[in-house]
């Protein structure tokens, strides 16, 4: 017995060392990536300061103008619009899946959501460009617009919202279900007044992760948004997202232009980090809520 436990201890030590090394490696890589972004962006920051990205009149690299503000607004508008649409649909799908669908339907529905989550974004973009954009163009030319981007992004993040909501709703303790049932509440009241409030934090943090995904999406947005650098003033305005800008110009950019694209990448990373941080805070507070419920 003693021998066996020593052996298992040794294995455990090895395993923890290996896992620790892997973890360290991943953390180190993150640091490297940020360092790399900073290093590449440095020349343009040094020559004109950070503020040039916010003060310049528009984005015309040929004329040494690197204003990113319109693209920041466009990125935010897209992500916000997409999550506003995707949140109710995604949560509704999760509720249907968990509480209303017959088991056989639920199984197929879950599979469908997973499938939707796995579709490459370029496919969504292609569909948007050839099907959705011409439809929007019949209302308001040219069709490539903030609206098209929002709709495509909504489709892309619905599975993320739905699946994270399913996870959050499933994590609600059995005691709450039982308690609510014992009180003789109807199914609707149980779900709306007990289950959803208990899973709220998990749903919201899932929504934040989906928002981060929408912010980082590049290919689909590049294909349907129209890519005109301007602050969006209507849903039908063609706009350019920060990510699309990097993809569109990186291969063709040199010197200051190139460095400013890296600065845009750094900015995006910071925004996404901010969202992830908020999400993790919310999950933590959710833990407290559940403990209290028990």
């Amino acid at each position: 017995m003693a021998k066996a436990s020593t052996r298992s201890n040794r294995t455990d030590t090895y395993l923890s060392r290996i896992l620790g090394a892997m973890g360290l490696l991943c953390a180190l890589l993150l640091v490297l990536v940020v360092f790399f972004l900073l290093k590449e962006a440095w020349p343009v920051v040094q020559s004109g300061g950070w503020l040039r990205f916010f003060h310049a009149q528009g984005w015309y690299p040929l004329e040494q103008l690197f204003g990113m503000l319109p693209m920041i607004w466009a990125s935010i508008a897209m992500a916000l619009g997409a999550i506003l649409l995707a949140l109710p649909i995604g949560v509704a799908s999760a509720l249907f899946l968990l509480f209303y669908a017959p088991p056989s339907v639920a199984k197929i529905y879950r599979l469908l959501l997973n499938l939707l989550a796995g579709i490459p974004s370029v496919v969504f973009g292609l569909w948007g460009l050839t099907e959705l954009v011409p439809i929007i163009a019949t209302w308001h030319a040219p069709g490539t617009s903030l609206l098209a981007a929002i709709l495509v992004l909504t489709l892309m993040i619905i599975p993320t919202v739905a699946l994270t909501s399913v996870a959050a709703l499933s994590a609600v303790p059995k005691e709450l279900h039982a308690g609510a049932q014992a009180l003789g509440l109807t199914r609707k009241t149980r779900i709306m007044s007990v289950i959803i409030p208990a899973a709220k934090a998990g749903i919201i943090s899932g929504a934040l992760l989906a928002t981060a995904r929408a912010l980082g999406e590049t290919m689909a947005v590049l294909m349907v948004a129209g890519n005109v650098v301007q602050t969006p003033s209507s849903l039908f305005d063609p706009v350019r997202a920060l990510t699309a800008n990097i993809a569109l110009e990186m291969a063709y950019a040199m010197s200051d232009h190139r460095a400013s694209l890296f600065a845009a990448g750094l900015l995006l990373t910071l925004i996404v980090w901010g969202l992830a941080l908020i999400a993790s805070r919310i999950v933590k507070s959710n833990g407290k809520v559940l403990a209290y419920a028990k």
């Binding site: 040929l62 050839t130 030319a141 040219p142 290919m219 890519n227 063609p238 993809a247 291969a251 950019a253």
Partner: protein, 285 residues
């Protein structure tokens, strides 16, 4: 045989992967992978213009067949990168889809083909020709409806190119405008995206490589080339030099080309590749 065509699209995919799999990318950085610094004796690296790349790729394939033991690596990334890579020695040969500028005297240019830039509209549009002044006014946002130029009552959708493309630079130079003056409705990356956009929007106007436009028109894509200054936008008019908005497609080297590069350039300028140039809807010089 190693061909890595990195078009704007796959470049974007690359960036998506960069986001998703940051770890693997950085792992590559860790072991010090230098993407473009291969230096084998039997290898030629050619980078630059996405307009010239497909043609160079075809020529390279043929060259490799007839010259066993040579490997040619063709990568795209715009004319500016072609210039840059040739200068820095990252590439043996750069591809540039315009004439060399006075500031680029340190490079040697070898013209392998000619191409024109054509204005295109949706083929349901009855307008067949525009004057230079009209095109300029459309792009500056002074004319916003096709009615003003003899067309139907339809809003004009102005399709412009993204920065860094030599097609954009040539267009701006021809019409004597700055990019910040242009009021675009859509900004596109490559020729294909431009053609897809114009074919999908009835009131659109854009400019793309004539070769690509002619090819797409023959395949039934609903676009139409506009006559410029009385000359039809066709490969034939580019060949005889009458078409006003045309350019040369060049291979460039820093100083005199190496023996091997010279050998390839001579091949690319020979009659052996004429059929490839025509197949790409360019014009042999």
């Amino acid at each position: 045989m190693l061909f890595s065509i990195t078009s704007a699209h796959s470049m974007a995919l690359l960036f998506r992967r960069l986001k998703v799999a940051t770890c693997s990318l950085a792992a590559i950085l860790l072991i010090g992978w230098q993407p473009f610094a291969f230096a084998e004796k039997s290898r030629l690296t050619i980078t630059g213009s996405s307009t010239v790349a497909p043609l160079t790729l075809e020529i390279a394939k043929l060259y490799e067949k007839t010259h066993a033991g040579t490997r040619i690596d063709v990568q795209t990334g715009g004319s500016s990168r072609g210039i840059n890579d040739a200068r820095n020695g990252l590439a043996d040969i750069g591809m540039v889809s315009r004439a060399l500028k006075p500031t680029e005297k340190d490079l040697n240019g070898f013209t392998i083909a000619l191409d024109g830039i054509g204005m295109i509209v949706h083929n349901s549009n009855p307008v067949t020709a525009l004057t230079d002044a009209q095109i300029k006014d459309i792009y500056l946002g002074k004319i916003t409806n096709w009615q003003s130029v003899g067309g139907p009552d339809l809003a004009i959708t102005v399709v412009n190119k993204a920065e860094g493309r030599s097609t954009l630079e040539l267009f701006l130079k021809h019409f004597g405008v700055r990019n910040s003056q242009i009021k675009p409705s859509v900004v596109i990356g490559d020729n294909q995206q431009g053609i897809k956009t114009v074919s999908g929007v009835k009131g659109a106007i854009g400019y793309v490589s004539i070769g690509t436009a002619e090819y797409e028109e023959k395949r039934g894509t609903p676009i139409k080339r506009l006559t410029m200054q009385g000359h039809e936008a066709s490969a034939a008019n580019v060949a005889n030099g009458q078409y006003p908005l045309s350019r040369t497609l060049n291979l460039v080297t820093k100083g005199a080309p190496s023996k091997q590069a010279q050998h390839f350039i001579t091949f690319a300028q020979s009659d052996a590749v004429k059929h490839l140039i025509e197949k790409q809807f360019f014009v042999a010089p």
